[in-house]
Symmetry: C2
């Protein structure tokens, strides 16, 4: 079919310019030929400034995240797939079934159109594989030197299916069991290894993945999981400390129980980092009543994304809200939040 | 109450640094002391990565927009109030009642904390006045020179009340009447006049305002408005051309019927711009069956934000989908989309 646009977009050599954000003809063409084509669904194709869909009565979840990861392409993914997975995961962590995504792009003048196309097509693929369409969006362009290639903000909506008691960070109770769905630190190491100037090589890929199907299995066997959270920025240590603060409890984690790949341990030793501070993008922490722990662990391990799930510790009574770690050498130390800026722009 | 944070945020002299985006303690403090305090609602205060709320069964609307306006403070508003109004308006243009907003911030290292606080407090005020709370959010920080102070992406959800037939850009029909809710070009002129190096003075303020209450009045008297859209980026000309494309129709607009302030006309003559290309942030275009036009106009004029509403033209049969303008001198010209980049970062 002949294009209705008089000028062709030059995918090979072209670059984003200010006209792509001006609200005029060039923007309309970019939306038509890239975004509407790649995301390919009827709601977006309507080209209204909003998407309209039917929902059942009940509990709805809304979540948003900006993605500024650098570099935008990394082993195991890119900013596009990450923006889809990350937001699906934040919806899923409420025990919810993700329904729809929105996507907003802030592009820097001069960004290669070919890179933009790779990012958008990766995003579309991730969205298709997860079964969660991108139904509305927005594009802005800022001058060269006022942005960094591409930033993406994705927002997700979902519904909590009726029998599920929504997990929440303030529901951890002393005696509860703390579990993680797999190896930690993979995403962080993958990003660090792809940054210029870091002198180490690894075959570690980002664990970026959508966790909604794993969560659906989990809430099916245990409809009342107390807490679910994905340990992204700040790693497992930040996530556990946040939950301890919200719930007013302490925790004891067993270092030897933590699933960590050998290459991640090695990279961390080299860089002076702790895998507990590294971001994950395809893992979750679950905190549940001890009675349900084995059942939940079995359900997690039955899913490809939870095959290496493990019980890593327990929730205790502690008015100081400390997260303690029982080291492999037998001692205990306080697992503090990351202080400082060791790992900027990890997601 | 004593802060639970050991270090105080220095609002007067402090600046955003990379630790505010790292997922650690500094980020948690900024979220606590600025975002949770300003937006002040129970859903956000839960500090989960998502907000959970009840919705009735029915038609839901999702919309998102990135705001990169420059400068961030301008006559009549700032990037914070604009981000609230703009997204509320995109929800309202589906005939929907806005329920909740999410907000994601991309901050540049070095951005003054005091400016951030002004923006967030303005956003909170706009949200409170509109009765649409910000219930979830995200903050990222990028290095100096990789952003521009602050970018905000807001996403809105809303519900279309049962008797309303959702307006949509593809529902304009030959014979329909085209209306606008008030003066055009105010936002564009306000932004341009506040840019450095533009040698003109004006007392024009941005028209930035939330239109959901005006829309509620309108759908109450005419539940089946064919099209509603807010003429933002690209101005009235882009909006009318988009609708003509979507609906497969033409339009004839009467130049003399367009409400334009004298100062806006004067500024446009000075700058060589057309008010029809200038962004508006508190105006809407309505297209309705001729039978309902007077009733709808009366309803619009009864609202403070529609006091200067006017009928500006009609929809015609035209396979070329041209938007024509009948000039005050009696001729007709094609009203084209803005070509080029005359007005970057207007919203």
């Amino acid at each position: 079919m002949a294009s209705k646009w008089s000028r062709r977009l030059d995918w090979a050599e072209g670059r984003v310019d200010m006209t792509h954000g001006s609200g005029g003809r060039a923007m309309a063409q970019l939306i038509d030929e890239l975004f509407v084509a790649a995301f390919d669904n009827l709601l977006l194709a309507k080209k209204n400034d909003q998407a309209l869909f039917e929902v059942p009565a009940g509990r709805m979840v809304l979540t948003t995240d900006a993605y500024v990861v650098s570099p935008i392409f990394f082993p195991g993914g890119d900013i596009g797939s990450l923006a889809v997975h990350g937001t699906i995961n934040d919806v899923a962590m409420a025990g919810a079934r993700p329904l729809y995504l929105s996507a907003s792009f802030i592009l820097e003048e001069g960004f290669p159109l070919d890179d933009l196309r790779r990012v958008v097509e990766s995003m579309a693929r991730a969205s298709r594989e997860a079964g969660v369409p991108v139904v509305t969006g927005d594009t802005k362009v800022v001058e060269r030197g006022k942005g960094d290639g591409v930033f993406i903000t994705t927002t997700g909506v979902g519904v909590v299916p009726p029998p599920v008691v929504a997990p929440s960070g303030d529901r951890a109770r002393p005696g509860d069991v703390v579990m993680v769905s797999g190896t930690i630190g993979d995403h962080g190491v993958a990003i660090l290894s792809s940054r210029e100037g870091l002198a180490f090589e690894t075959s570690i890929e980002s664990d970026s993945a959508p966790l909604h199907r794993l969560v659906a299995r989990m809430v099916e066997v245990v409809p009342d999981i107390h807490v679910l959270r994905d340990p992204t920025r700040g790693g497992l240590s930040a996530t556990l400390n946040e939950i301890a603060q919200q719930s007013g409890v302490g925790m004891v984690i067993e270092e030897r129980a933590l699933p960590v790949r050998g290459q991640v341990t090695a990279a961390c030793e080299l860089l002076g980092l702790d895998p507990l501070h590294l971001a994950n993008e395809g893992k979750l922490v679950a905190i549940t009543d001890r009675r349900h722990a084995q059942k939940l662990l079995d359900a997690m391990r039955a899913d490809p994304l939870g095959a290496q799930a493990a019980i890593i510790g327990e929730v205790i009574d502690d008015e100081n809200r400390f997260v303690q770690i029982e080291t492999t050498f037998g001692g205990r130390r306080i697992l503090d939040w990351l202080v400082g800026e060791a790992l900027p722009r990890i997601c």
